[in-house]
Amino acid sequence: MAFITGFGKYLPERIVTNKELAHRLSCEAAWIERMSGIQERRYAADGETVCEMAARAAVDCIERSAVDRAQIGLVIVATSTAECRFPGPGAAIVERLGLGATPAIDLCVASAGSLFSLVLADSCAATFGTVLVIAAEKMSSVVAANTDKKTAFPFGDGAGACIVTRNTAALRMIGSRLYSNGRLATDLCLQHDNTLQMNGPSVIAQAARKVPKVITEVLEQHSYGTGDVAAVVVHQANLNLIVRIADALQLPRQRLFSNIARYGNTSSASMLIAAAEWFECASKSPAPIVVFAAFGAGFYWGAVLARFV
């Protein structure tokens, strides 16, 4: 199994408050916060692209991790809101980062994109050495003109990144479980015309059941219990959902890292943005395990266990 050297992030400057959205969506700002725990989110500037945000998060990650760019053998990019249907933004990000002809893989796995990319990087590190994982979303391009209050308010823009390597580093990935199930694919989907379909009760019920289940499963598979868990870094979909996951796992709520109040739901980018902020203030804990987990449209879901080195 590979190691995680470090994380990085980029959030656009423009802050969009609940108050600003409430006016457009004909609802109350307090309702938005009550329903989701979100107080504000970021929107990219006009013309600011997924590629630009991804590159900024990557640079932040490379600098924080003190990795030599020449060592990067593969770039994996998760996004569902890139400007073109093809090509994906991977090659353009490689170009922008000055990584020559380094291969890139584009993944379109919506909110589980960070997690699936991390697991793919774990496998690829043996072949490619150092893998740069990036997840970036410009959800405002989908929801900025949307007046449906249930689908428009949660989303924001941003990018997260991490470095996965076969060389010993801060966190060692020790196990993972991934799943997909297409039976309810239409319960959360983004059409080509930018129509966002979301069956909230279905998504919440599935996520609230499946995420604790897969975390428990991967912990047990590696002979760990929740008492061994220092932190859980999950996709930031909804604070109320994160609380339900903590309760289902019988973990103290503060052990589930959350920054959703400031950034909203940035889809695939959220887990790596959260990981970057968690990692910045993470201290070595008597509990040796950190869990990364995500659930998203598809449905795709899973969990990764990592251990402090």
């Binding site: 329903m35 199930n181 039976r183 069956n199 909230g200 009760p201 279905s202 998504v203 919440i204 019920a205 599935q206 609230a208 059941r209 499946k210 109320n240 959902l241 339900r244």
Partner: protein
């Protein structure tokens, strides 16, 4: 369920569960939409499934969770009559 008394009791239990998950004293008509209308929030389905399990012993596998199946008192009763006659 052909026993009228048991039938009535089941309707009353369902109404109690709807009120619990709504967190307030509502009395929707049997055919009134719960989720689509926004009468209860997105987390209510999760709570409803938990109460159907703990109070009525009805377990719903993940693959059978569909808000349309539980979107009114009448639909919940039809589901229970099918799965726990």
């Amino acid at each position: 369920m052909s026993n009228p008394e048991a039938d009535l009791m089941r309707r009353e239990r369902i109404m109690q569960i709807i009120q619990k998950v709504a967190g307030r004293d509502i009395s929707p008509r049997p055919d009134e939409s719960l989720f689509k209308s926004g009468l209860v929030d997105s987390f209510a389905l999760l709570d409803m499934l938990a109460l159907l399990d703990s109070e009525m012993g009805v377990q719903t596998p993940d693959d059978d969770i569909n808000p349309n199946t539980f979107d009114s008192g009448a639909l919940i009763k039809a589901f229970l009559d099918r799965t726990a006659p």
